[in-house]
Symmetry: C2
Subunit: 379 residues, 2 copies
């Protein structure tokens, strides 16, 4: 297992001084790091239609971007191109294992692991992200320059490529295998490959109020909640047709507010919404579904492994009832299952011991069997 090595500082110091505040280069954060997937395997994934990928290159000095899936890479030549593949943690267990090294940040903040292969001279160009990222250097080397936060102009260098103007670097360093560059949102950055190289970006998502309110509205509609109409049996004689008076405005706001004040709705919404994945999961449903007896038998021999990228959460106020959220769905297994539900959400591998409590309850066994048959967990 990969463990983050912080030579000069502790994780507490990283959180206090850098996280969401300023970029930092962690030299040899993963000593002895070697690529978790080969360039060839990465190129293979980018040929699959369910996987998001992009090729970025320069043609006669102009930036070009193409979306995958790709059929061949032969036309690209020796230099100045990059292949970027999203959510590779969904498709490769080895890549998924990289995520755990960053578990000092909760999983609901995680986005995915994006991997790039760059030929010498290749890079995606100077740009600004809205997300925190740990760029973990694999084979080869890249020169990374990071500028300070500020009023940087952004422009489309190509219809699908948002770039920023050249910037004064506050970090300018060559990364080699095992080095990690942390960059918070808003800091312009630009990496150029010195030789063919691989880079593993562990990215974090954040959410805007607008995202969350859209999600809440969809959640209410999908679950037929919040449907009660405003009622106003206390209405007084109204004088002016065009007037939305203060008491009506308050009534309208109050009705919306009841939803945000309803912790049951909000917990269920947050759990369901944050446990949805942005990119497709690699769900390999079993060709020959197993039954509960077979599940128990297999668990005696080996652990269950969670498929890469699957998101499972619980919240403080409902975990005691065994409530959890798996891939956008709410499950309630009861108080007697809460220890198992904790393990289900916190661990990547599930042993018979961890599942013991839940395996005594029919509803949990049924759900777990279904998850295994659907490919959420596999042996």
């Amino acid at each position: 297992m990969l463990t983050l090595t912080l030579n000069e500082f502790s994780l507490d110091k990283f959180l206090a001084d850098y996280w969401q505040q300023k970029p930092v280069l962690i030299r040899q954060g993963f000593p002895g790091f070697s690529d978790l997937i080969s360039p060839d395997e990465l190129a293979g994934l980018a040929c699959e239609s369910q996987i998001d990928s992009r090729l970025i290159y320069k043609q006669s000095g102009k930036w070009q971007a193409e979306n995958g899936p790709f059929e061949s890479y032969e036309h690209l030549g020796e230099r100045d191109w990059t292949l970027v593949v999203q959510a590779v943690d969904h498709w490769s267990p080895e890549v998924a294992s990289l995520v755990r090294a960053f578990s000092f940040i909760p999983k609901w903040r995680l986005d995915d692991v994006m991997i790039s292969f760059a030929a010498p001279g290749g890079g995606v160009g100077p740009h600004i992200d809205l997300y925190d990222v740990f760029i973990c250097q694999g084979s080869g080397s890249r020169r990374w320059r990071v500028g300070d936060r500020g009023n940087h102009r952004q422009f489309a260098a190509h219809a699908a490529l948002l770039h920023t103007d050249p910037f004064e670097p506050i970090i300018d360093a060559v990364l080699t295998a095992g080095d990690i560059l942390y960059i918070p949102p808003g800091f312009p950055h630009d990496g150029v490959s010195l030789e063919s190289s691989m880079s593993f970006s562990v990215g974090f998502r954040s959410k805007s109020a607008s995202d969350m309110l859209s999600g809440l509205a969809d959640y209410l509609i999908d679950n037929e909640l919040g449907g009660t109409l405003i009622s106003d049996p206390q209405r007084r004689m109204h004088q002016h047709q065009g007037h939305i008076n203060a008491s009506d405005f308050a009534l309208i706001k109050q009705q919306m507010q009841t939803i945000l004040n309803d912790d049951e709705i909000m917990m269920n919404f947050v759990g369901c919404h944050l446990s949805k994945t942005k990119c497709e999961l690699d769900l390999q449903a079993l060709d020959f579904p197993i039954n509960e007896t077979e599940l128990r038998k297999s668990l005696q021999q080996t652990d269950l492994i969670r498929t890469g990228g699957l998101r499972c959460f619980y919240l403080d106020d409902s975990i005691s009832q065994g409530i959890c959220y798996v891939n956008g769905e709410r499950y309630e297994f009861g108080a007697d299952c809460s220890a198992t539900v904790l393990a289900l959400c916190d661990e990547d591998n599930l042993s018979l011991a961890a599942l013991e409590q839940g395996l005594q309850h029919a509803a949990f066994v049924k759900a777990l069997t279904q998850w295994v048959n659907d490919g959420y967990w596999y042996f």
Copy 2:
């Protein structure tokens, strides 16, 4: 102008005892009432594709419903069918004038005026609405039965027709021209035409929290508001991957809450959202647009008339800056225009005197000219 006549009780009493509480028959609420549109004209409107209409009839004892536009009515025979047309106030100034009689309820609560023509025996069947309605009887007569609120079963008598089981009437009356039946949401009702008859339903809309939160989410996206991402630079070391802990849950809720706490956003959203119409407006843009001089000249001769169904609102905290909402759009004309903006939103007809203040301000004159050219108001 139509004026509501409440023989036995006052408007205050109606609001205190009936509005949203219980149905009531107002005998001769409009003494001497005559149809605001003829059955033939109504049938003509139902041939237009922009207008929502339905035919409801029984065929061999089974309920049938068809959506317009219709090409002919010849196949319908003499009995047992109803033609229902939505939002006729948008298409007929005479029908639009009926709305003002109900201006003791604010316009943001109004939905539209739905009109039905029914052949003898015709009706839409026993059903329950989510809306308050004043059913104003025109020519002919109908027997109306209204049941009490309760746990009434609802079922699809036809794919497009939600009916309810037979009910015990608490009102059972024959309405003739000028009678008005008020029915709050939730009371089952059933009207059957005794002879060919016209009925004018002034309907009120209410909104659910789910409607309003969907509208808010769309408003934020359309106006690029609420885009700031959650930031968590205070984060402490996290232990359990699947845990959405209490402080993160509070952070997520708090971010959504900032939007509901922002009265500027909420006023603008409420104003824009409630001033949108459900059904299409009859906007007749001028073939030969007028300029500002011509507008002033015409106003010296005649009043401007608001097109039927157009919704214009203001709120207490922003009317002093001349802010109003017209058909889903926000306008800000400044403090010096607030008297004109009040008239604009409150009155159906705009005289030169009412507009005087605004006509001294270029921005208002420009907007008004545009509205007239677009057909929002006409001479």
